[in-house]
Subunit: 256 residues, 2 copies
């Protein structure tokens, strides 16, 4: 099974302005991990037509899968559907089933021209179910377009991602060591990385609210057997530095 | 005064894996806003040499300023300094002042080969002060390289950004309207955007924990006078839809 790569495009000005903090990347990354798809890049770009079209084209060619969030609501700055249509060379057309669903949910009087725009998808798209507020996302080619509002985004990811073709699943194992600092064992970890070239070894310092600190050591890869062996070696590395290796994630739930 | 553009490169696997949520973008974006520098793109990329070198080159050419976070610690996967050196065509050399500072702070016995790597900067760099853990960031050309740990990143931003040449400051004004939905006024907002082409008008739905919801309407731009006029028009737009325009940010502190 081949490893699949993905890119996530966060479209909109609110994260670039510092107004809101992105919460969608983590939701998508975790869902993709479970499906064996590796998130290789995230790009946050503004609501500028030319920038969206160019980035969608570039990323659609460079990665197996592209996911987007934002810009599919009813307002004038919601231009993602038009831009993806242009990028993929498909005209924007009324999607009859989505039109009927929206009309039924909103009632004919509230279903004004602005809201009707949300039923226009690039020709040949498959809608992505929105269980929160009806207006759909859509998939066209290898591009999957979703809403930016976190509750809606999460519902779309939960519906879409399990339907995607699986890649080889990423396996990870970790140990943490209270009181240890990265610089103490960096040379040993570098040596270990050479011993396990196909396993990704990482160290993550943490600082807890109570003042305690330490390092989490993580092994990740697509060969579960090798990841297990590398994790055992991380365990021994911590012991060799006179610390107690602790299992699980509890001690680094609040990384500083 | 010309508007300056910036790109932020978040380097490292922990955000792409869903392990941690990015908190640095917001800190940088707000500091840049205050300095009149506009954050135009964020890219999150993995610890892969070729990807880092290529992205730094591309973004250094495309934006006035580039900021990076992550990958300047002592471990084997901390390769940002080497990659930026390659991208900028400058060899990595020992920075004597940083070397002495680190040695004094850590003590000669703890200042091992792995930690000494943190004193190697691309030739011609200016160090960026680290008031948390001594190991510096650095500026070379238009690229500013900082740590990924949020407390250190924030201290570096606080030291660096006020020293950068100012651009035209971004001015913003907002009103919020409880109970209003984006689709209700989308057509009017689009018309208003045409009236104020140089002001960026946006609407941001919010959902509070107590179940209340509404929309914040925001005007942003580099001409304070025009932003003020646009904000007045937003106020009137809310009134025209039978709602009470409320000032300030209180009602959308917790956007869903």
């Amino acid at each position: 099974m081949l490893q699949k790569t993905a890119c996530f495009l966060v479209i909109g000005n609110e994260i670039l302005s510092g107004r809101t903090q992105d919460a969608n990347t983590r939701v998508l990354a975790q869902a993709l991990n479970a499906q064996g798809i590796r998130l290789m890049e995230v790009r946050v770009i503004p609501d500028i037509e030319d920038r969206i079209v160019r980035t969608v084209r570039e990323c659609s060619a460079a990665f197996d899968l592209v996911f987007t969030s934002g810009g599919i609501g009813p307002t004038h700055d919601d231009i993602t559907a038009e831009c993806v249509a242009t990028a993929m060379g498909a005209p924007l057309v009324r999607h009859e089933e989505s039109f009927r669903l929206l009309e039924a949910a909103l009632g004919a009087d509230r279903f004004n021209a602005a809201r009707q725009r949300m039923a226009y998808l690039p020709e040949g798209s498959t809608p992505i179910l929105n269980t929160v507020s009806v207006a759909p996302g859509f998939s066209i080619g290898n591009v999957h377009v979703m809403a930016g509002v976190p509750s809606i985004f999460a519902s779309m990811v939960a519906w879409l991602v399990p339907q995607l073709e699986k890649g080889a699943p990423l396996v990870s194992a970790s140990w943490h060591a209270a009181g240890l600092k990265e610089g103490d064992f960096a040379a040993d970890l570098a040596t270990l990385q050479k011993t396990f070239p196909t396993v990704d070894l990482g160290s993550y310092p943490y600082h807890l609210p109570d003042g305690a600190s330490g390092v989490a050591l993580v092994a990740k890869g697509y060969d579960g057997d090798l990841v297990g062996k590398a994790a055992l070696a991380l365990h021994d590395l911590i012991m060799a530095h006179g610390r107690e290796p602790l299992a699980g994630e509890a001690a680094h739930k609040q990384p500083a």
